[in-house]
């Protein structure tokens, strides 16, 4: 009873703490950049975007509202959406594979999405799909990769870390090879694609958010609805069935949904690795493995983490900018090694 209640309390505390940290980070991120703003200026300029009459126009620089509207806010929101998407997709994949090393980037799901997205960018006949071509094809690629890895890595319901990682590397490399081939063959602007591949939020826009956010949020809601079932799946599909869970449908739904949210992120931000690995792991260390706690907390922490990483990415070498994927890989690579060495009962 006590430990259970303690976990409940810790969950609520963590959620509140994360929410506060998120607001603070959003504010900070909006302040920082080539032209700095004070917190008050950020708030007033933002409010003026919605209700120009409510704030004194002299209390903030005249360019601030446009800067926030066109550059900083879309970028911040895209970071939040992508962070939520990648970390919850990671948590879900870890549950489905019953292995804490599963992650969209490491499993090649992100690479699959990238191939889909690249096809959407460079194949002219698809232009009629407009901005929707990108996520649709990215989703197709991600789904293909996820099911390939599942088929390859899972024998008799067991997914060993070795087979999982090997399958992920194999599928991921294959998709990356396809990606390179596509770029060379079509002589597409290589620099653009390479930068996109390294993961970046530079091109974030409201239009992209309007496409990605509903996908990611819908995926997140479906994951939450599956959380109790996902808990039972951790004991194996046979046991889950004995307790009344349609394990096949659950696994299928969750692989689809994890691919969907991954695609929603990758299509517009490129390949950002390790978020889905680190964030759920940290959350489990604090809250335990119950997905009803892990998914919401990982969503918040993932959003926070990616926003921090992106803010760092665009300020650390100011005025130059590093792709945010490099930052996450810098932190995530060593973390992954640490997990490989120590993982036991997460």
């Amino acid at each position: 009873m006590t430990a259970h209640n303690a976990r409940q309390r810790r969950f609520r505390l963590l959620m509140v703490g994360l929410a506060i940290a998120l607001v603070a980070t959003v504010l900070t991120s909006a302040m920082l950049g080539a032209a700095s703003l004070s917190p008050g200026e950020v708030v007033r300029a933002t409010v003026s975007l919605f209700a120009p009459d409510r704030v004194d126009a002299a209390s903030y620089p005249s360019w601030a509202p446009r800067l926030l509207r066109d550059l900083r806010l879309p970028r911040i929101i895209m970071a939040l959406v992508a962070g939520l998407a990648l970390s919850t997709a990671g948590a879900t994949l870890q549950g489905v594979f019953r292995n804490p090393l599963a992650e969209p980037y490491l499993l090649g799901v992100s690479a699959g999405a990238a191939v889909g997205a690249t096809i959407a960018i460079i194949w002219k006949p698809l232009a009629f799909l407009g901005i929707f071509g990108l996520p649709v094809l990215a989703f197709g690629g991600a789904l293909l990769a996820a099911f390939l890895v599942y088929r390859l890595a899972t024998f008799a319901e067991e997914t060993s870390s070795v087979s999982l990682l090997l399958s992920g590397v194999a599928v991921g490399s294959t998709f990356t090879a396809v990606l390179s081939l596509l770029m060379v063959a079509t002589q597409y602007d290589l620099r653009t694609v390479v930068v996109w591949l390294m993961g970046g939020l530079t091109t974030a826009s409201w239009t992209k958010i309007a496409v990605a956010a509903p996908l990611v949020v819908a995926g997140f809601v479906i994951m939450l609805a599956h959380a109790p079932r996902l808990n039972l799946m951790l004991m194996g599909e046979t046991r889950a069935k004995e307790l009344g869970v349609d394990a096949h449908a659950t696994r299928r739904n969750l692989l689809v949904v994890a691919s969907l949210t991954t695609a929603g992120a990758v299509a517009f931000t490129g390949l950002i690795g390790f978020v889905g690995l680190m964030v759920p792991h940290m959350v489990r260390l604090i809250l335990g493995p119950d997905h009803r706690h892990v998914l919401p907390a990982a969503g918040l922490l993932g959003a926070l983490f990616l926003l921090l990483a992106d803010t760092l990415a665009r300020t650390i070498l100011d005025p130059a900018e590093i792709p945010v994927g490099i930052i996450t890989a810098f932190v995530g690579g060593p973390f992954f090694l640490y997990l490989l060495r120590t993982r036991r009962g997460v």
């Binding site: 430990a3 409940q8 335990g288 997460v346």
Partner: protein
């Protein structure tokens, strides 16, 4: 066995017995075949509501397969299963999970749930469509933890407890499922004796509450002590079913487990003791062949063991309490005429011995040392011979070296041989000869009427080694 199938063939509809509510579980003609191998070869089973049924059988006999096919976890090649009269095939998983709780042999869980959280997962079939975040506070979960004495472990991560504790967590999880039917696949694995008893007592209590219990048990005695009924599986078929008293006989167990056992009673229930090593395959006819071994002073101990391992159940006489032969007879659970040590046989001992010898199809005389006290043993052999029973005499070491009766024993042995007793040089020879007799007794039965008793056939049967041995 065929009865359930027949009624099913007549009425395709719900399998209600005419008089009462449908049984908790009913299996009709279950066949499971995989890769050309038959795992279940036509099982019909009716488990009435409130039954406490133990499923026994050697490894690979299909116990787990049966359990898994009864819950729909395994696709059937043929046949049908009904849960409380409803066809399993048409039932959805969550309905089945509300009716049947299953304890599998193992489970893996590498994520750091606490014991309480794992047990609470068993509540899943009963949860409302969206139970919110809080599922841990539940009396059923507390009761399940309590029943298996793991309340102390409730807050420990399930990844950090011992195998036996995990086993009890798994059982508690299924108890939390709170189903009218429970199926357990070797729930005593990994458990200490005290926890084995605890689990069986929990099952007995659930049975008393009116739940239906189906349990696969390795330990025959555990099953015999607690289960009201047993089913013995062998090669994917039902070899025997009924109360422990009825089906736990040495014959059935030898048949199913290829192991010779003795069956005692303990607290009104059968108690099965394996007899020494597992036998070489029982010699032909050995089970039915009645054998009496005349011995004493340990002379026949090895012979008795050899015969038992071949499937014979010799009686022994007359044996002094505390001598080697007596101990062997006791450990092998053989019937024995015994007498106090260091005293001449009384009239009563001899009569009892003679009665036992006359029951036999064959009497074997072990190379014992004869003194005044046990000379009557040879007289019993002679009486048996005269009654038409085959008598085999082991001659090494020579009778002269064992005769402390001034030639009377030597003379008696000579008389035995003259009247047709078979001489064999040693214990091995005796075993060979007895096996031959048993085989002959078992094989030719042209008219297996009640009149053709084995005894007569043995007496008339050929005795191929006789000439050769006597010439030696």
């Amino acid at each position: 066995m065929g009865r359930a199938l027949d009624t099913r063939a007549l009425s395709d509809a719900a399998p209600t017995t005419p008089d009462a509510a449908p049984p908790a579980l009913e299996a009709c003609g279950l066949h499971v075949r995989r890769d050309g191998r038959t795992l279940l070869g036509g099982i019909d089973l009716v488990v009435p509501t409130g039954a406490f049924l133990g499923v026994l059988g050697p490894n690979g006999s299909g116990k787990t397969t049966l359990l898994r096919s009864l819950t729909g976890a395994l696709a059937l090649s043929e046949g049908e299963v009904f849960i409380e009269g409803r066809p399993l095939a048409n039932s959805d998983l969550s309905y089945v999970a509300q009716r049947i709780g299953i304890v599998p042999q193992t489970f893996t869980l590498d994520f750091k749930f606490t014991v309480r959280e794992v047990v609470a997962l068993g509540r899943y079939p009963h949860r409302r469509s969206w139970s919110g975040w809080d599922s841990g506070a539940d009396e059923t979960v507390d009761a399940a933890l309590e029943a298996l004495s793991i309340t102390d472990l409730a807050d420990r991560p399930v990844t950090e407890i011992s195998g036996g504790e995990r086993q009890r967590v798994l059982i508690a999880q299924t108890l939390a499922q709170d189903t009218p039917i429970l199926m357990l696949d070797e729930p005593l694995n990994n458990l200490d004796l005290n926890h084995q008893l605890q689990v069986m007592q929990v099952l007995a209590r659930l049975h008393a509450e009116g739940r239906t219990i189906l349990v696969v048990v390795h330990d025959i005695n555990m099953a015999a002590q607690y289960c009201a009924d047993l089913v013995l599986l062998s090669n994917g078929r039902v070899a025997a079913e009924g109360t422990p008293e009825r089906i736990l006989t040495p014959e059935v167990i030898l048949d199913v487990f290829s192991t010779r056992v003795a069956v005692h009673r303990q607290g009104g229930r059968p108690y099965v003791t394996p007899l020494g090593l597992s036998p070489r395959r029982a010699a032909d006819g050995a089970l039915e062949f009645r054998l009496h071994l005349i011995t004493g002073g340990g002379a026949g101990a090895d012979l008795a063991r050899d015969l038992v391992h071949l499937g014979f159940t010799p009686s022994l006489g007359v044996v002094s309490v505390f001598d080697t032969d007596f101990e062997v007879a006791r450990s092998l659970d053989l019937s024995v005429v015994s007498a106090p040590p260091f005293q001449p046989l009384t009239r009563g001992d001899v009569q009892e011995h003679e009665a036992l010898a006359r029951e036999a199809d064959c009497v074997v005389v072990a190379p014992q040392v004869y003194g005044a006290g046990n000379l009557a043993n040879l007289e019993v052999a002679l009486a048996a011979l005269d009654a038409g029973i085959a008598v085999v005499v082991v001659r090494q070491p020579p009778i002269e070296s064992r005769d402390l009766t001034e030639g009377r024993a030597t003379a008696l042995e000579r008389t035995l041989l003259e009247r047709g007793a078979v001489a064999v040089p040693n214990a091995a020879g005796a075993v060979d000869h007895v096996c031959a007799l048993a085989k002959d007794a078992a094989a030719p039965r042209p008219a297996p009427g009640p009149l053709g008793t084995p005894k007569e056939q043995t007496a008339l049967g050929p005795q191929p080694e006789q000439d050769e041995d006597q010439g030696a």
